[in-house]
């Protein structure tokens, strides 16, 4: 849709503005059409279909009929579902705390000048770049019950005598996926926070030091508040990703042992695709949405407050 050229010689005030507005609106429409089409067709429409699906009794090969809230009732009473809810919150919470703490530490370590800094910065992002599935396989091999290299190391350091059952013990399995998720996410946090740190003028810290403030106080009262906007946005992205995580758990443990690492996404997949109960799978997925929405809204409000401070 080609917009006709503006007549720059137009003297009368109101008309150019009206034309301009109209032009802008048409142009905006044109520019947004491709996006609207793709997102409408492949997100909005399937989303509504998914919602309808969760209200039906569809199974594989059988479209079923409308059953209202029956699926939601069923999954609410499903102990595996409740386990998955708890697991997802725990997983998201713990990993975010660690990613933030370790990422911040790493960012501060990188916020100096040293030889090879660019190289280090580039290498550090590798865990985040490499496809999750592939790096998770490497970890799975490192955690293998019979051949784990971690166990080998600890054994030869004299720290353990019997094998650590990384993926077979329910608590350790959760720890293992947390470790891998943190491993993957720390670089993202670190690099983003580093950029944030670099926008903080060093004079502020120096001034505080001259005034006699100790390192910890300098951090807490000077650096941290200025870092908060960036931190909140990074956390927002990270929380969304982790809450809906599928790949990592699917490859590492498949949700086991005995559902100890089952999350929303993996459970939805298991019920929907494995067992063929499509409607219930959709219900589990949909159940994720309000939680996620709430978390995001809370964080956005917080970000808004921080920015206007």
């Amino acid at each position: 849709m080609v917009v006709t050229a503006l007549d720059a010689a137009e003297i009368k005030r109101p008309r150019p503005r009206l034309r301009k507005l109209e032009d802008e609106r048409w142009l905006a429409l044109a520019l947004l059409v491709p996006t609207a089409v793709l997102l409408g067709l492949f997100i909005a429409y399937p989303f509504f279909e998914g919602v309808l699906l969760s209200f039906s009794s569809a199974r594989v090969g059988d479209p079923g009929h409308f059953v209202g809230f029956a699926n939601f009732e069923k999954i609410w009473n499903d102990s595996i579902f409740r386990t998955a809810v708890w697991n997802t919150f725990w997983y998201t919470g713990v990993t975010t705390v660690f990613k933030l703490g370790l990422g911040l530490w790493l960012a501060m370590l990188l916020n100096r000048h040293f030889k090879g800094k660019a190289l280090v910065r580039a290498f550090i992002l590798l865990p985040f770049i490499i496809p999750t599935v592939l790096s998770t396989f490497a970890w799975k091999w490192m955690f293998d019950p019979t051949f784990s290299v971690i166990n080998w190391t600890l054994f030869n350091l004299g720290l353990i005598t019997t094998r650590i059952n990384w993926l077979g013990d329910p608590d350790l399995a959760m720890t293992s996926i947390i470790v891998v998720n943190v491993w993957r996410g720390v670089p993202f946090f670190a690099i983003s926070l580093l950029a944030g740190l670099q926008t903080i003028s060093p004079e502020l810290n120096e001034a505080a030091a001259i005034d006699g403030a100790r390192p910890w106080n300098r951090f807490w009262y000077v650096t941290w508040p200025l870092l908060l906007p960036v931190t909140m946005v990074v956390m927002l992205f990270s929380v969304i990703q982790t809450f809906a995580d599928f790949q990592l758990v699917y490859v590492m443990t498949g949700g086991g042992p005995a559902n100890a690492t089952q999350l929303f996404a993996t459970y939805a997949y298991q019920i929907g695709i494995n067992t063929g109960l499509l409607a219930e799978g959709a219900a589990v997925s949909l159940a994720m949405f309000p939680f996620l929405f709430l978390i995001v809204v809370v964080q956005l409000i917080y970000i808004r407050r921080v920015e206007t401070r």
Partner: protein, 283 residues
């Protein structure tokens, strides 16, 4: 910012840094070494004597040759590359246009649309893939790369849009106004002035989109089924886990080789990737 004696620098800065780098990079070393170790060495229990897991004196290419001869690994790489490139281009196209519209044009629903695009990011893929499977079926795209090329933009476009919004906002309005005074239309100003200036931003979005689409798994898992059509992630997961007793060597070979293209592309554009990442976060 650690002042004081050199030992303090070592203890508080250098050693932790070295530890971080080691932990972050060790799994890749492990991938590499496993790829080249023969089976006999790989399968020794963790507490067996004579077990030196970190090195091998008899490197072998058997896992890699197995990968290429017994599976369609080469094909998977081509598929993934093709899908990533085309969906990145589509997303960039949409993202640049949408980003410009939302950042620079004044119209009533700009804010709301921006938020709406953000909301789509929240919709879980596990909810979408069943209805999407039907849509794919209706368009008869099942088991073709196009099923992914058209669905990947759903999570790439929001990202590209925000990134580009940030970049566009940073371009001074004067640039455009000069062009307009010279007689260019809004459209032409965008095309010939703004976009060239935003090229770094476009590169950043592109590289991030590329790595994100290489990383996608669940849609590829559900929409593709023939061995010839699979992407690397799905192929490695589904075809290298064989009933036969030994597979870790080839699995690691697959993981290693599957990571290399992304790593290479990334290494050429590190600066752009980093600035894109941080730009999206700051903006």
């Amino acid at each position: 910012m650690i002042e004081g004696a050199a030992w303090r620098r070592w203890v508080f800065s250098n050693i932790p840094l070295i530890l971080f780098v080691f932990v972050l990079l060790f799994p890749f070393y492990w991938m590499i070494i496993t790829t080249f170790r023969p089976d006999g060495e790989l399968y020794r229990p963790w507490n067996a004597v004579n077990n030196m897991p970190f090195w091998t004196n008899k490197p072998t290419l058997e896992h890699i040759t197995y990968l290429f001869e017994e599976t369609n690994f080469g094909r998977w790489m081509l598929n993934t590359m093709f899908i990533a490139l085309v969906s990145t281009m589509i997303s960039l196209f949409c993202g640049v246009l949408a980003g410009y519209a939302l950042a620079r044009l004044n119209f009533r629903y700009a804010g709301m649309l921006g938020t709406l695009i953000f909301i789509t990011y929240l919709v879980p893929q596990t909810l979408l893939f069943i209805p999407l499977a039907e849509i794919i079926r209706n368009f008869r795209l099942g088991d073709t790369p196009w099923s992914l090329i058209l669905t990947y933009p759903t999570f790439l476009i929001p990202f590209c849009t925000w990134l580009m919004m940030g970049y566009f906002k940073a371009i001074p309005k004067e640039l455009e106004e000069c062009a307009r005074i010279d007689g260019a239309s809004r459209w032409k100003a965008m095309l010939y002035i703004i976009i060239p200036v935003a090229v770094p931003g476009i590169l950043s979005s592109g590289i991030i989109a590329f790595t994100l689409s290489w990383n996608e798994f669940i849609y590829a898992l559900v929409f593709l089924s023939s061995p010839d059509e699979k992407t690397v992630a799905v192929g490695v997961t589904s075809e290298l886990i064989r009933g036969d007793v030994f597979f870790w060597g080839s699995l690691m070979a697959g993981a290693l080789l599957g990571s290399i293209p992304v790593a290479i592309v990334y290494s050429f554009f590190v600066e752009h990737y980093v600035s894109g990442l941080t730009g999206s976060v700051k903006g």
